[in-house]
Amino acid sequence: MRQRAIWSAVLVVGLALAGCGSASDSGKSTSSDGKLVVWDWKSGEPFAKSYLEKAKADFKKKHADVEVEFVAQPFDQYYTLLGAAIQSGKGPDVMLFNGGGQIRDRVDALVPLDDYVAEDKQRLAGWEAFAKDGKTYAAPVTLQGYPIYYNKEIYRKANLDPASPATTWDKFVADCAAIAKAGSKCFALGNKEGVGIQFWLSSLGSTTLTAAEYDAWIAGKRDWNSANVKRIFQTWKESGDRKMNSDGANSTAMFNDSFALFQSGKAAHVMGLMSDVGHWQDFNEFLTAEKLGVMKAPVVTAGTTPSLPYDGGIGYAVAKWTKDPKVAADLVRSLSSAEALKAFYADAGAIAADTTIDVSAGGPAVSTIVSELKSGKPALHVALSSKTLDLMGRLSQQLLSGSITVDEVVKQLAASDQAG
């Protein structure tokens, strides 16, 4: 009996100690001398395989003794997990970020990379999306932009010239009426997540705001009361009031229900993406390359010139707590090396940050997009904080359902933008 009591006591204490151990050991350091841990949401995908191989080979040339481990996290939990890692001050050495608000909100935990990546500045595009207060925190891998795609087949059915889509907003609205008569919707719109308005803002920004207003917006001096800013939300409302959008936009998910509407030929236009999803490669696959067109934004305010809105899409950054920032930065450079990015473009269909890559085999749409990169500007919505974007999403839904005025929308957005 005594034996049994002692054994059970030993067992219990042992279990309890094991319990303590796992409780206090939960944030074990992933950063050790010979190893770099990378977090992303891409490395598990088959299309990223050759990209990662090329990047690893490039890194091996510089640091043969350092091991690299890629940990793929689920994207919908990515920033939650990253937030927990940042909070505890322990986690991956290198991590993938979306450009814009997601990285700017977290620069406290990152190493400025300007000194390390100076050589790449010329070769790669899209740095602004990863910069805050003049410092760069990540090197771009892909570019993300918001071209307006259109279906040439629907244009033909509506007796419109597929080679010359509307260049002014009024003509565009008239075209949409013709498209409606031919039995299609003008826009495939999914605004369930409140993202539709972000694409709208950026796609029509260059032709609604004057060049000076546009640059001031990107620089952080946003005049929400300007007539042209209001005009963006008015055209948004107009598109809803005129029934130009696909039905039930507020309950349709942009990813990927609205893109599916466009792909299946139910709507003539969609404000899509350049990389990842809802982009030329997906659309080519369903509509075929010759039916897919990319148009410049129709001019809303006279005297403006359309430009393609784009930014750095995703890029790798270095965490503050990494042992040797130089080694980690070298890995970041390898991850955006020319060879690696060429593989990423070829396999994932993303527009890579390296604009020297030849895309002529991808069809007319992608060639148009790449040719417009030179004159392109940063997208308007990427400059906003995630809090303001979230608010804008909800307000845009109210605009579509008619329960708010444009004046009230810009008032609330101005308040949120100034607070953040």
Binding site: M1, R2, A5, I6, S8, A9, V12, V13, L15, A16, G19, C20, A23, Q77, Y79, T80, G83, Q87, D105, R106, D108, K192, E193, G194, D247, G248, A249, N250, S251, T252, S386, K387, D390, G393, R394, Q397, Q398, S401, S403
Partner: protein, 326 residues
């Protein structure tokens, strides 16, 4: 209703606890019987403490300590103010945030809809108990949704309730215009709660059926002999006899509504349209993961914890009261 006192308890939790106590004391007694050496006595004196130690440690280290850390964290700032004390700043911001107000209002709405969520399984269980034709079939069918994950349920209803989905097509064939079930802020919350009730009432139904198993059939026969209508039977016999089952279902349904609707919300509406379907849980997730405001999320969690504490205390109170009636 005098019969209530003679009914055996239908509360599985309390029954489990009583059983556990009996086992422990039996073990203690049998353990005390063999040869009593001094060392053995000492070991046995400490044995209970050692045996409960793992449970206590787990609760303290993995539950209470993080809870305190979380509450403490809610009084600090976010972003540049990370780590510095901001007093009740986060709480002030929360209560000024219309989105959080909506989330709290929706909690109120859930409380108001609670009787519906309890009445549906109650009524269906009554029909099954009264052996309506096909009752065996219904008994198994009603439980089906309870084994589906909220993600699957949400995806199914997303398709059914889509603007161009089958429900609107059926309505259209009757000449009723399409309704944007998940896109109209006045309707969306009711749809999500409705789907949640559909997906979870099977569990409550089983509890009700267990309650019915303890119901004295002679009472029903007596009522029928006296010429009671179905409504009178339900109102004067079944409800009073099942009062403790009903209380139990009330409390568990409330907790289920407050804590496990995230999956459905996330899939069906993502808090939208216009932020009309936010619940505190979803708000916390959004602030923590999407807005990078962990301290604000902690403050919201603390408030949700307070709400759950009130519900939990209420539950203990209800169960204790019905326990005394035994």
């Amino acid at each position: 209703m005098p019969m209530g006192n003679t009914q055996p308890s239908v509360r599985p939790a309390s029954a489990g606890r009583a059983g556990g106590a009996a086992v422990t004391s039996a073990a203690h007694r049998s353990g005390a019987r063999p040869r009593r050496t001094r060392g053995g006595l000492r070991a046995e004196r400490y044995a209970p403490y050692i045996l409960v130690l793992p449970a206590v440690l787990i609760i303290v280290l993995l539950r209470l300590y993080p809870l305190l850390l979380g509450v403490n964290f809610s009084f600090t700032g976010d972003g540049e103010q990370n780590g510095t004390a901001v007093g009740f700043g986060n709480y002030r911001e929360l209560f000024a945030d219309p989105l959080f107000q909506t989330a709290l209002k929706n909690v109120g709405l859930l409380v108001l809809l609670l009787p519906v969520a309890v009445a549906i399984p109650g009524l269906l269980a009554t029909f099954i108990y009264l052996r309506v034709p096909g009752h065996r079939f219904y008994r198994s069918v009603y439980f089906f949704p309870a084994v589906l994950s909220p993600v699957i349920v949400g995806a199914i209803f997303n398709l059914l309730l889509a603007f161009d989905g089958p429900l609107n097509a059926v309505l259209g064939s009757f000449g009723i215009g399409p309704v944007d079930w998940l896109g109209d802020p006045d309707i969306a919350m009711f749809m999500v709660v409705g789907v949640h009730i559909w997906a979870t009432f099977g569990m409550a139904l089983v509890v009700f059926l267990a309650g019915f198993a303890t119901l004295d059939a002679a009472l029903l026969d007596a009522a029928r002999v006296d010429g009671a209508t179905l409504r009178q039977v339900v109102w004067h016999v079944i409800i009073p006899a099942l009062s403790r089952t009903i209380q139990f279902v009330f409390v568990t349904t409330m907790i289920g509504m407050l804590t496990s609707m995230f999956g459905l919300l996330y899939i069906m509406t993502s808090g939208g349209p216009e932020g009309s379907t936010y619940l505190p849980e979803f708000y916390i997730w959004k602030q923590q993961g999407q807005m990078n405001r962990p301290a604000l999320a902690s403050a919201a969690s603390t408030i949700l914890f307070m709400i759950m504490l009130v519900v939990g205390l209420l539950q203990i109170k209800l169960l204790e009261r019905s326990g005394k009636e035994d």
